[in-house]
Symmetry: none
Subunit: 355 residues, 4 copies
């Protein structure tokens, strides 16, 4: 009987709920530790999932030899130190997105992964989703001709997650809508067009609608549990726009956690010389092409939509066993980090930055 | 009895049909000449409108003292020389948009206008349209708070005007979708936000879908009369994307004469801190705001939509009489020309240009 | 430490589920008794909510000094006797809507409330809902100008609650769609326009589609637990239409528990000289107005929609403590009862009745 | 060869355009006179249709023996005197709707028709339309069971025809939206349910939105040629609501030339015990019924929609030849007049009137 791989979950908040059940589905792994600095969260996880031991400080887990795999599900500010500590401790790491708060942190993580030979995968889950992989395959097969331009639109009406909490505090999160939503859109766009190298970034990340926290009007906040409207901080971007050149297609972005436009427009357009695709984020896609002198609009359907965390976790565990990094490896994710960083630097400098 | 103002129409193609009937509605002007290098066009205009004399070379009209006003309705390449010749001849000029093929030509036109003291108005008709002026008033009255970002989307599926004709020959037109459609969108955006000074431009203008003219599939071409698929030229942009900083709001643009995305998205978004407006080009607009703690979506309706050439011509004639330039004066239009030029230069240089 | 207010729930059927959890949220009250003539219902409530004592006859609770507040959640026929008995016993009462089966009963309840000085509030929950209060505020602030006409439409396709049960037996319920749904629509309309005095009622309440109970076709019945298609009764109105004059705006009504028109039209139109509002029942509203010579259509959004029983219960308890009746007091609710009564009498007499 | 019937058209304004071409399609009639008090109108009709003689005073046509048929297409105030004069002169008359400004005038017209034995048909064109006749046939065949209630909704947003012209001057038109649009809706409803006798009317006709003519905001006025915003009159109803009892189904009405609700709702609902029909005015209809225990929604389609003036004129000419009155005879139309009169009287008296 083969020995099972031991898993430690670091951070037991919302996003861990996308990791844990998917580890539990696999025969060859076993969750051995649930760690959270809020003790009740760790305790509750042990109780809920009926396995593992609760710990409240991840450093207690360094040196444990019943851990092979670590899932880092904390706030962004702990992504780098925890991932690095565990890699240096000989573990393979799946770290949630964004890789880190800043490019510097992400590059340090990448460096340690190479030095230690450990796996460092990032939770850019769209790279494992059926809709995205279908589009990638269409592009690779030449169906779209040359893809010369990508437009990513991640615009919501008034959807700031939790005013005055960790999402809206730059020191914790590294940024707002660009780093939180943009990371997914830019990453899947890069993935579909073959992970080209970014060259220039020009854009602006605005901190506007959430600044006057008490008077911000909305119908709900999707991550308001840690929010504090009285004393909390709001110093991140709620709208971002910019233009990115790469060695492949160029990318234009418009994103809003909050904007005074009511239409929700969340999609990625791949503009090719032969055909184009509009991919609805987390959903279906439509391909526009030609056939025998006719214009065609092709709607597609397939079994799995939504965000396939199961496929992400399964691929990670396979990589751990085979030692072959997959499409979500830090070497790929760091490209996205470079763009996020470039756009934030361009916004500060009020001019284009060359990468 | 007051003497009537004499008008000469230079160029009797499509767009002259938006000028001529609107001059005929006014009591104090009289169209005296119809000029076109295609003689039948000039002759046909004389017959159709029952007035004026046909001429085939505009130079014959220089020195005539029964001309006060000149409407330049030619291809873009003749905008500058004709406008300049008539201004030096002491006439007031209404020149169709874009001001000229290049920024250099536009600046020369502006210089001559100032030297001669003649009026030079450009046909940026949106500045006279009710929908645009309603939005401008809302912004000026503070209804939107600070407008920090504008998004102009002038994207059509496959709508190249006339492959192989003057529209698609850069030497004649100066460019494609950016100079032909973009000029209107950028100009109306600048107008609404108070004509700020542009600072930087980064973008790309692609020449892609029309290049293989014979195999280009579409359902129609809206200006195909002079097209020649066999021997004609197609060397202009059919897709453009970019980011523009100004001393006011920044502007992001996406435009397509042709793209492999079937959705027609032709609107301008004004993103303000208190409210936002989506203005549908040539149509209505929706304002998104808040009221008593509620989010509001305000659809507006008003008598006049579409492109009000009548108001443009009327305002021009009034300016001629009062000697007071109006909102479409070359001094304003040249700001738009700077942005068009900046984007084309950025596209060539593959980097941002500072204006 | 302040003493808590003791609550007795009389009737543990469906509607009590909107009262009980909202009492439990308040710190200063304690539910001490659950009463239902069906013993299992009372027992189940004690078990489910983990508090209180089960009783099966409300008369056992008269004279108890650990009761301050009574929620009457029974069928309509017991609203009057129970409310009156408890008021005479010195308790404050929140009675579900309609106040009673008939105007006579409602007036008797009002009389006893005045005689005893007890609070008698009626469960016209819309008076506590955000959507309704937003509309009321807009009207009060003059935003609509003079509101001259209200149209209430509460028309569903085939939605009779429970054929052959208490809802469809006039002796129990006092009527059908008019008293069950109409009470809410008319009451919220009156509330928004300032509770004017009704003057005349002309209309007809039809008993048509449910009469042949066994052959009544529908997709579901939302209150079918006590229905008995074999031996039950159906003698109430399933369609009602009429015209009501008041000292303020006039009110036109169309209502259907069941009709052979498939469109569900459940809204209230407030027609004002400056603006109008269409309020979707239990949902959002749209305001139609003018601005700078434009017609405007304003859609609104706000955090809380649906029926806010929590606000109703909270306001009731506050009224109990402050002795200040709120907007759902019997003195207001009785105005609605007069209109229901007027319409039923007009329907019987086949002519208008003057109130 | 049979002699042709001679036609005189009295009034050559808009509505005559629905009569004249339909007479011209028939072999057995000949238009011999076009009469209008505005001489150019009469002259233009002679020129346009290439037949007949222009006259400017209808009295000149009395005594002419080459006239058999008269179409009265004037303003409402001349319907009665002209129809009566021509009937006394031995002619058959097709008079536009409404029959007259008031019930008194309509009854006088009916009396003269009976005295003289002449045909007097009213232009209630819906009685000749396919959609309406299909519904009538469904009702007559018992498909809907007992039709117990009709709801007529003729509500438009801001659609007053011509502020300050004859439409909005009560002395000329007899009223506003009720007499102009309501006449059609009520007439077709009565026709479909077998022309029952009306019993009571209670309602209100409001003169609200058009009163401040200069500040009335709208996008267009469909009959603005004779409007005079400076000196004209606006003293008619722009909103009407009411309840009408008949010996058959009762009728509820809501109508608006102008209201501050943006939804256009122009339909008639026939509520039957077995099925119901929603007839879209001038369009298709949907029937809601049941089949084998299922609910069914039946959309219908047929060749002819819109307003079939051709059928109306053809039926009139046939009646002239056969001496058999058709469904648009004054004896039927006068029932509608009674309801219009009843509603206006009820509105003035603020109480129901019994007919």
């Amino acid at each position: 009987m083969s020995k099972k791989l031991g898993v430690a979950i670091i951070g037991c908040g919302n996003i861990s709920g996308s990791h844990i059940p998917n580890y539990l589905k696999l025969d060859n792994v076993e969750i051995r530790y649930f760690c959270d600095i809020i003790p009740e969260r760790a305790d509750r996880a042990v109780e809920k999932y009926g396995c593992g031991t609760a710990v409240y400080n991840y450093k207690e887990l360094l040196g444990k030899d019943d851990i092979d795999i670590v899932s880092v599900c904390t706030h962004n500010d702990f992504h780098a130190p925890i991932s690095i500590d565990f890699m240096r401790d000989g573990k393979d790491v799946l770290c949630e997105k964004p890789a880190a708060r800043t490019l510097e942190e992400a590059l340090e993580m990448q460096k340690v992964a190479h030095e230690t030979g450990r796996l460092l995968q990032i939770g850019v889950v769209n790279r494992f989703c059926d809709n995205v992989n279908h589009v990638k395959k269409l592009i690779e097969s030449g169906e779209l001709g040359e893809v010369y331009q990508v437009y990513t639109s991640f615009r919501a009406h008034r959807s700031i997650p939790g005013l005055g909490g960790d999402f809206t505090t730059k020191a914790v999160s590294g940024g707002g809508v660009l780093i939180d939503w943009g990371v997914h859109y830019i990453d899947l766009a890069l993935y579909c067009i073959g992970d080209p190298t970014p060259l220039t970034c020009s854009g602006e990340a605005y901190c506007k609608l959430g600044k006057d926290m008490k008077d911000y009007v909305c119908t709900s906040m999707w991550a308001s549990d840690t929010a504090d409207f009285e004393k909390g901080t709001y110093d991140v971007d709620d709208f971002v726009s910019g233009f990115v050149r790469t060695t492949g297609a160029n990318i234009t972005i418009n994103g809003a956690w909050a904007q005074n436009i009511g239409e929700a427009e969340t999609f990625v357009d791949f503009l090719g010389t032969k055909a184009g695709v509009r991919l609805y984020y987390g959903g279906k896609f439509t391909m526009y092409s030609t056939l025998n002198g006719m214009l065609t609009e092709i709607k597609t359907d397939f079994a799995t939509t939504g965000f396939d965390y199961g496929a992400e976790i399964k691929a990670f565990v396979e990589s751990v066993e085979t030692r072959v990094p997959n499409q979500a490896h830090i070497d790929r994710a760091v490209i996205t980090s470079k763009i996020l960083d470039g756009l934030y630097r361009s916004s500060d400098a009020k001019k284009e930055v060359t990468l």
